[in-house]
């Protein structure tokens, strides 16, 4: 998904869930920030590098694709953008090596989504924002995996757009740096790369930006699908993602007792069903303007343009002990928590693709030093809850 949904639509969902204008701004900022928080950004503010939630193109080019490098890539992308739908999925007549990658395919309503939302309970607004980003992406990025894999993420030339009137048109992807032209149906995708672990085979590159356009419905043959046609109905998926975000945030606010997967909020969203549907189905690269207008009409407040520099000064000026209470500090802690949870879940399913999950030990062990601040924060919260 793009800024239109992660930032503006998340704001709208937060408001409909009952959050105030200010709280909703914190949540939606954090949701969008997941697409910004790279190691390059974190090193600028001298923050914990392990809290990176995405990678720049240049970081990808320089990334190692040996075993350790692949684990590092998988930890980031599977934790924040391609949350696995079923870590224990079965597939007949395939090797263990294949099954490990197959089990990382992203999908909604899995156990990990439930854990992601639970993790955000009683955490900060930043933690809620991260959870909303992850939840939303399980819908947009379903059928692709957050690990480099030709046999999972490849597609072939069988790609058809399905229009509202039922007609179909073949999509012939270009492989240039030109932007997409959705009016003319011109789309760009990454080129075929025959190497299994090539960076070019990470995520939904072979389908271009199609998963990120809310208006489009298309059918194709995913590499893992055994020649069975898969229909990706983005208008329906984005609608469900929006409603599920409202439901999740109602749970996180404490308005309802349980977060259920396979449940889509039907009361608040229903009041604005036509408007939401119109925004989602309008044919253009970005629905930011419409979501913004909708959001501002809900609260009467102004939604500022997303500014990635907004909280840097606060973080840099804070003392060492105060950093964890800044906006970025809280974001980093929540990002570390999410990454830990997903990495451990993948490791516990006997899948080594995200690396090893190590129990935290006292002391300055390199590599998990960053997680110390997360552990201390969680201990502090536990203590506060016990006192209450």
């Amino acid at each position: 998904m793009q800024e239109d949904f992660h930032y503006y639509a998340t704001y709208c969902a937060a408001v409909l869930a009952g959050y105030t204008h200010e709280e909703s701004l914190e949540i939606c900022y954090s949701a969008q920030f997941v697409d910004i928080c790279t190691r390059t950004f974190i090193s600028r503010v001298k923050g914990p590098l392990n809290a990176a939630t995405t990678q720049l193109q240049l970081e990808m080019v320089d990334a190692d694709t040996d075993a350790v490098g692949l684990q590092d890539i998988t930890r980031i992308w599977a934790s924040f953008h391609f949350l696995p739908g079923d870590l224990y999925a079965e597939k007949k007549h395939c090797s263990k090596r294949y099954l490990r990658k197959y089990r990382l395919i992203c999908g909604p309503n899995g156990e990990l989504v439930r854990e992601t939302v639970r993790l955000a309970k009683d955490s900060s607004m930043q933690g809620i924002g991260i959870a909303m980003h992850v939840l939303a992406d399980t819908w947009a990025h379903r059928y692709f995996a957050g690990t480099p894999s030709l046999v999972i993420n490849n597609t072939d030339s069988y790609f058809y757009e399905i229009f509202p009137d039922g007609s179909e048109k073949k999509i012939n992807f270009r492989h240039t740096t030109s932007p997409d032209d959705v009016e003319k149906g011109l789309y760009t995708s990454s080129i075929f790369q025959g190497s299994e672990n090539s960076i070019m085979n990470l995520g939904h590159g072979r389908a271009g930006h199609l998963p990120d356009y809310s208006f489009i419905k298309y059918k194709y043959l995913p590499a893992w699908g055994g020649y069975e046609e898969t229909v990706k109905d983005n208008p329906s998926d984005y609608n469900k993602a929006f409603r599920q975000m409202i439901h999740a945030m109602q749970y996180l606010r404490g308005d309802i007792g349980e977060f259920r997967t396979d449940y889509y909020e039907g009361t608040k969203a229903e009041l604005y069903r036509e408007r939401i549907d119109e925004i989602i189905r309008k044919r253009r690269e970005s629905a930011a303007e419409d979501w913004k207008e909708f959001g501002e009409s809900l609260t009467g407040g102004k939604i500022p343009d997303f500014d990635q520099e907004a909280y840097i000064e606060e973080y840099l000026r804070a003392g060492e002990d105060e950093k964890k209470d800044t906006f970025l500090g809280r974001f980093f802690i929540s990002a570390l928590a999410q990454k830990s949870m997903v990495t451990h879940s993948i490791f516990a399913s006997k899948n080594p693709l995200a690396g090893y999950s190590v129990e935290y030990k006292k002391g300055n062990i390199p590599g998990i030093r960053d997680f110390k601040m997360m552990v201390e924060s969680m201990k502090k919260r536990k203590g506060e809850r016990a006192n209450e």
Partner: protein
């Protein structure tokens, strides 16, 4: 390119340079060693592809491509090995053919890079030099060891280009 791949590339290139130098000093026997090394390399590549097909690509839409590629490479390996027992001039012709093919592929890749807006000059020069050297070999093939020396120079030239390419960063169309 990963560090591993970079180091591997450099090692292969240095070995190629050594082979080229070896050909200069032993133009008679050197070809048989080149044929042997080439066929072993092709066998390994072919088997790797076949194993990849049976462990991974067999479950992938269009995965048979890996199988066909593996079979073709294995057949090329067998054919290369069969050249061990024939007069040197035919081996040289075969090796010239291989270089013309790889030079053509380089030029096609350069053309594709140009279409995608990436840099293409180095690839184009490399491909053109490969083909030019192969043609020069052909012209002087009956001229004692001259054809052999030209081929050896071509090997060293390819190796140097490969080392240079290992250190280049290339822009990619990457969808995030």
């Amino acid at each position: 390119m990963s560090k591993f791949a970079r180091v591997g590339n450099i090692i292969v290139s240095l070995l190629t340079v050594l082979l080229g130098v070896f050909l200069f000093f032993m133009p008679g026997e050197g070809f048989y060693i080149i044929v042997l090394i080439l066929s072993i390399g092709l066998f390994i590549a072919g088997f790797k592809e076949i194993i990849y097909y049976f462990t991974m690509a067999i479950n992938m839409v269009g995965g048979k491509r890996s199988f066909y590629k593996g079979i073709i490479v294995l057949e090329a390996a067998l054919f290369t090995l069969s050249l061990y027992d024939i007069p040197k001039i035919f081996i040289l012709l075969y090796l010239i053919g291989v270089h013309v093919f790889s030079g053509t592929v380089e030029i096609l890749r350069a053309w594709e890079s140009k279409k995608n807006g990436s840099s293409f000059v180095l690839k184009f020069i490399q491909g053109s030099l490969d083909i030019t050297m192969a043609l020069c070999c052909l012209v002087f093939i009956r001229n004692g060891n001259t054809g052999t020396y030209i081929y050896a120079a071509g090997l060293i030239n390819s190796a140097i280009f490969r080392i240079v390419s290992s250190f280049r960063k290339t822009a990619i169309v990457y969808i995030q």
